[in-house]
Symmetry: C2
Subunit: 196 residues, 2 copies
DNA sequence: GAACAAATAGACAAAATACGTCTAATCGTC
DNA sequence: GACGATTAGACGTATTTTGTCTATTTGTTC
């Protein structure tokens, strides 16, 4: 059972770059088998269909990324910086690898079609983690949410929404990083106690 | 007749990047029509088949590149430098654009299958231009071929062969440029008069 | 080296996709 | 309104891909 998972993981690690390169439609099971250096028959032993394989790939990417996000949030340092790093990790893990502009749209569409649950679960998990980090910071007096009259969840939602909006409006051109930095500066000023 | 050519050229300019990105096999006529922002029906008005389109694309790339090569060779300066620049132009025009590593092999294979004549014609044209440049340089005493006991054509052939060999052995990793530079230094030393 | 599980090549029918052709409708220009 | 150019869309055919299956090979364990 554990060997199986390992093999599947190897296949998925080989498959994701192929999807990123050609998109879902143009990627064939033969392409993936070749990339994973196994036969097509073996590939079907591990995954019953291309769609199942894609779902598993999406799941793996999300798991890995969320693990990174969790690790980053667990570090020391001020909350805003850690949250900024967490958002970065989230973007780097799930968006940047597929931002070949052309294929990006198709891949995200297919993902929403085949693995919407995985994505929404990860998203709410991210919200949870951000809210928890904010909550802890507030408990330790590092930040003060009273002036802005919002709960940790509210703030976490705002950050996630901004992340999404920024991603969609700027696509992968570049200003995205800049816009996120600005958001973090705003948050920092708004939440730091000892300010008006 | 002239409008037709212009339209065809626009199509080919849109098609080449698509071929470079996906390779010949994975590129569909629909992909090309989309890239050229015309309908599939119109695409078939300009080209009767995918193979014909590819041939035309290959022809266009070769024409443009050879025109660049000719221009570079026509400049002032010492022969060896001009030849080095010409080789660079040739490589940049016909090899670099398709060196997406994965697709490169398939594209070159398909090219040799569908447009071998175009490639070989361009190649002999290149040889001719190099030989002519060497011949002129010799006539003006800029270089001396006597010590190496070779005709301009011999030297041109050697250069072209070296270019090929370098390309094939190093693929598109990087040392290719270095190797070409070395070849040019060798030539320069061997051909310059006033040396042993 | 026999016994066993895992991986493979290769063939296969069914489904999906691409090709190349055609017609009828739309668009822009004169 | 007439004209040529462009288009959407449907079409049959050919090719490719999918997913399944069997027989064979490979590698491991006893």
């Amino acid at each position: 059972m554990e060997k199986q998972d390992h093999k599947s993981a190897l296949i998925l690690d080989a498959a994701l770059p192929v999807f990123a390169r050609y998109g879902f439609q143009k990627t064939t099971m033969a392409d993936i088998a070749r990339a994973a250096e196994i036969s097509r028959a073996s590939l079907y032993l591990a995954f019953n269909s291309k769609e199942e394989l894609f779902r598993a790939g999406s799941a793996r990417a999300h798991e890995q990324t969320m693990s990174d996000v969790e690790a980053v949030l667990g570090r020391t340092g001020n909350v805003v910086d850690r949250i900024a790093a967490a958002i970065s990790a989230f973007q780097e893990g799930l968006i940047a690898p597929f931002s070949k502009s052309e294929n990006a749209k198709e891949l995200f569409d297919i993902n929403m079609q085949l693995a919407a649950d995985i994505t929404t679960t990860a998203r709410s998990r991210l919200l949870d983690l951000l809210a928890k980090a904010l909550s802890n910071a507030q408990a330790q007096g590092e930040i003060d949410l009273k002036p802005i009259e919002a709960s940790p969840i509210d703030v976490a939602s705002l950050i996630a929404a901004a992340m999404d909006g920024i991603k969609h409006s700027f696509s992968a051109d570049g200003p995205s990083v800049e816009a996120l930095r600005l958001l973090m500066r705003v948050l920092s000023l708004a939440l730091t106690p000892g300010r008006r």
